[in-house]
C-alpha cells in the first residue's frame, strides 16, 4: 500500500511541476506576442488616420483649382508666403465679435462661408463641425489618409505641425543607423582588442581585476553615461572641434561605443576563453606561435560567441535611449555629417510620447517607430543566428 501511495505522490508532483513549467513558458510567450501585437496594432492605426489634424477640415472656394493638398503643400501654404491665403479660426475671431458669431457660435459657419465666398484664394482650416454646409461656393477638400510612402520616404518629421503634421521617418531612421554605425565602428576594434588582451595576454591577476571592473561598467545606468556625455564629452567636442554645438552624432556614437564596450568585451571574452584548452595546446605543441594560435584556432572556434557579442553591442546601440537623447542634440534632420545634431528613433519615442495625445496620429506614428525599431533588432538577431549557425564548430570541415 505505502509504496504505491508514494509512487502516486511522486507522479502527482511530477505532473504538477510539468504543468507549472508549461504554464510559465506559455504565459511568457503569449505576453511577448501580445506586446508585439499591441505595438503593431497601435502603429498600423497611423495609416488609417487622415493627414489633416483629427476633427478639422480644409475648405476652399468652389471655383478654386485646388483638388488635393499634400501635408507638405499645406505646410507651405500655412507657414510661408504663397499665392494662397491661409485662414484659421483665429482669423475669423479677429474680424467678428462674439455677438456677431452668435450664441454657441451658431452663426460661425455662415460667416466662414461669406469669407470663403469673398476670397477665392482662401484655404480655410476649421473644425469640421463649423464647416458651412449647403453653400455652393464652398468646397471641402477630401481628406486623404497618411500613406506608407509618405511615412517611410518622408524626409521631414514635424509631428506637431498644424494643420497637417509631417511624419517622415527617414531622418530618425537614418539618425539611428548613423549613430549606431559609428558607435560600432568605434567599439569593435577597441572591444576586440580588449577581449584579446584579457583572454590571451593579461596575466591571471590582471584579468581577475579587469573582468569584474568591465562587467561593472555594463551595469551603470544609461542616464549616468548620458550625464557624463553631456557634462564632459559634449563641451570637449565643442571646444576641440570648434563646433557651434557639441551635441552631435559623434557625441552619441562615442557614448554608445563606451556603453556597448562592456557587453562586447564580456561576451566575446567568455567565448574566447571557452575555447577548449586542448585545442590551444594542440596548436602550440605544433610550433604555432601565440598569435597563430589566436587567429587560426581560438578566433574561428569562438566566432559564434564573438559575433553574438558584436550583435548584442549593436542591439544595445540601436535601442539605447536615454544617453543618446541627452547628447545628440535631437534635431530631426537628415544626417549628413558626424558633427551635426541628429535624432534617433528611441530618443524620439521617449521625448514625444508624453505630449502625444493617446490615439492621435502622432501617438500612432510613435508606435510605428517602435515597430520599426523592433524590426531592426529582429533583423540583427536573425543575422546573428545565421552567422553563428555557420560557425566553425557546426560546419563540416573548413
Amino acid at each position: 500500500m505505502k509504496p504505491d501511495l508514494l509512487r502516486c505522490k511522486r507522479k502527482g508532483f511530477r505532473l504538477f511541476a510539468e504543468a507549472l513549467f508549461t504554464l510559465s513558458g506559455t504565459v511568457t510567450t503569449v505576453v511577448i506576442l501580445l506586446i508585439i501585437l499591441f505595438l503593431f496594432k497601435e502603429g498600423a492605426g497611423l495609416f488609417r488616420s487622415n493627414e489633416v489634424e483629427k476633427g478639422y477640415s480644409l475648405c476652399v472656394h468652389a471655383s478654386s483649382p485646388v483638388e488635393r493638398l499634400s501635408p507638405a503643400q499645406i505646410k507651405q501654404i500655412f507657414d510661408y508666403e504663397t499665392e494662397w491665403i491661409p485662414f484659421r479660426l483665429e482669423d475669423l475671431f479677429d474680424r467678428y465679435s462674439e455677438e456677431e458669431l452668435g450664441k454657441d457660435y451658431a452663426l460661425l459657419p455662415g460667416k466662414l462661408g461669406e469669407e470663403i465666398t469673398k476670397e477665392p484664394k482662401l484655404v480655410a482650416f476649421v473644425p469640421t463641425q463649423y464647416v458651412p454646409t449647403g453653400l455652393p461656393t464652398v468646397r471641402v477638400l477630401p481628406g486623404s489618409r497618411i500613406g506608407w510612402l509618405r511615412f517611410f520616404g518622408g524626409k521631414e518629421w514635424m509631428p506637431t505641425a498644424t494643420p497637417a503634421p509631417l511624419f517622415g521617418v527617414l531622418p530618425l531612421l537614418l539618425g539611428t543607423l548613423w549613430v549606431s554605425l559609428f558607435a560600432i565602428l568605434i567599439a569593435l576594434p577597441l572591444g576586440l582588442g580588449a577581449t584579446v588582451y584579457l583572454s590571451e595576454l593579461a596575466g591571471e591577476k590582471m584579468r581577475r581585476l579587469l573582468k569584474p571592473a568591465i562587467e561593472l561598467l555594463a551595469g551603470i545606468p544609461s542616464v549616468v553615461y548620458g550625464f557624463f556625455g553631456l557634462v564632459v564629452l559634449v563641451p570637449f567636442l565643442q571646444r576641440t572641434g570648434g563646433l557651434p554645438v557639441g551635441e552631435t552624432a559623434l557625441a552619441g556614437s562615442l557614448i554608445l561605443a563606451i556603453m556597448a564596450l562592456p557587453t562586447i568585451i564580456t561576451v566575446a571574452e567568455d567565448a574566447m576563453r571557452n575555447t577548449p584548452k586542448a585545442l590551444r595546446e594542440a596548436s602550440l605543441a605544433l610550433g604555432a606561435t601565440r598569435w597563430q594560435t589566436i587567429y587560426r584556432v581560438v578566433f574561428p572556434a569562438s566566432v559564434s560567441g564573438i559575433s553574438a557579442a558584436i550583435v548584442l553591442g549593436i542591439g544595445r546601440a540601436v535601442g539605447e535611449t536615454m544617453a543618446v537623447l541627452m547628447v545628440t542634440g535631437n534635431a530631426a534632420v537628415m544626417p549628413s555629417s558626424l558633427l551635426e545634431p541628429v535624432r534617433t528613433i528611441p530618443a524620439t519615442i521617449a521625448a514625444e510620447l508624453g505630449e502625444a495625445p493617446a490615439g492621435g496620429a502622432h501617438y500612432q506614428a510613435l508606435f510605428m517607430l517602435g515597430c520599426i525599431l523592433f524590426l531592426i533588432t529582429l533583423l540583427i538577431s536573425t543575422a546573428a543566428e545565421i552567422i553563428s549557425g555557420k560557425s566553425f564548430y557546426n560546419k563540416k570541415g573548413i
Partner: protein, 248 residues
C-alpha cells in the same frame, strides 16, 4: 638524445618533481609509469616546454636535447616544439577537415606550396597508418572520425612537421582495445624514425611497447632501467609492489 639532469619542478609551493636525472637514447621508446599525480606527465611536458603555459611554475636543473639546453634564454620555444611533437591524452583534433588538421603545422610553419603540403599530409597520414581509412574523406570534418582514428590523426598531425622526438601523454587511455592495439603497433613502427617518450597508466602497454621504463612515485624517479629487466626483476620494492598491483 634527451638528457635531464637534477630536475626539480614546482607548481607554486608544490614540489612536483624531485631531483630527477635520466637519459633517453635516439630511436628508442621510453615509457613512464606510475600512479596518478606522480609527476610523469609533468616530466614529459618539460621536453616541449608545455609547462611554460602554466602560471607560477619553477624549474631547476638541466634539460638537454642533443646536447643543447632547451631552457636556455636563446631558445625559440616555437621552434623547439616543431622538433618535439606531442600527442595528448584525449584526441584533440581541430574543428577543421581531416586534411587541414594535418596541414596545420605545415601552414603555421610557413609552407604555402599546395603540392608539397599535399605530399606531406599524405606521408604523415600514411606514417600514422591512417591514410587508407581517410583518403576518401580528407575534406570531412575530423570530428566525423572515430576516437581511435582521431588519435591517429593527431599523431599524423604531429608527424607532418617531421619532429625528431614524439612525446605521447597516455595516447591510448581514452580508446577501446582495438584502437589501442593499433596505436601500439604504430609506436613500434615509429620507433625507427623517431625518439618516443610515452606516459602510460597501463603497465602491460609499457611492457609491450617500450625499450626502457621509468617508474615515478610522488615526484621521484624510483627506478629507471630496461623494460624487460624492470618487469622481470625490479630493483626496488616499491616498483615490485606497483607492478604486482599492490597499490596504484
Amino acid at each position: 638524445m634527451i638528457e635531464a639532469k637534477n630536475i626539480d619542478f614546482y607548481y607554486g609551493d608544490f614540489h612536483a618533481l624531485k631531483n630527477i636525472s635520466m637519459k633517453m637514447e635516439a630511436h628508442t621508446v621510453t615509457a613512464f609509469i606510475g600512479p596518478s599525480g606522480c609527476g610523469k606527465s609533468t616530466f614529459l611536458r618539460l621536453f616541449n616546454r608545455m609547462n611554460d603555459l602554466i602560471d607560477a611554475t619553477r624549474l631547476t636543473g638541466e634539460c638537454r636535447i642533443d646536447g643543447a639546453d632547451i631552457y636556455h634564454k636563446s631558445v625559440d620555444v616555437d621552434e623547439l616544439r616543431k622538433k618535439v611533437g606531442m600527442v595528448f591524452q584525449k584526441p584533440n583534433p581541430f574543428p577543421k577537415s581531416v586534411f587541414e588538421n594535418v596541414a596545420y603545422g605545415l601552414r603555421v610553419g610557413g609552407m604555402t606550396d599546395k603540392n608539397r603540403i599535399r605530399q606531406r599530409v599524405e606521408a604523415a597520414l600514411t606514417g600514422a597508418a591512417l591514410w587508407d581509412e581517410v583518403k576518401d574523406k580528407l575534406k570531412k570534418s575530423a570530428f566525423e572520425l572515430s576516437g581511435g582514428q582521431q588519435q591517429r590523426l593527431c599523431i599524423a598531425r604531429a608527424l607532418a612537421i617531421s619532429p625528431a622526438i614524439l612525446l605521447m601523454d597516455e595516447p591510448a587511455s581514452a580508446l577501446d582495445p582495438v584502437s589501442t592495439s593499433k596505436i601500439e603497433d604504430l609506436i613500434h613502427v615509429l620507433k625507427k624514425e623517431y625518439t618516443l617518450v610515452i606516459v602510460t597508466h597501463n603497465m602491460q602497454q609499457a611492457a609491450r611497447v617500450s625499450d626502457k621504463t621509468g617508474f615515478f612515485m610522488l615526484g621521484e624517479l624510483v627506478e629507471f632501467s630496461d623494460t624487460k629487466k624492470m618487469f622481470l626483476n625490479p630493483e626496488k620494492e616499491e616498483t615490485q609492489n606497483y607492478l604486482t598491483g599492490r597499490f596504484g
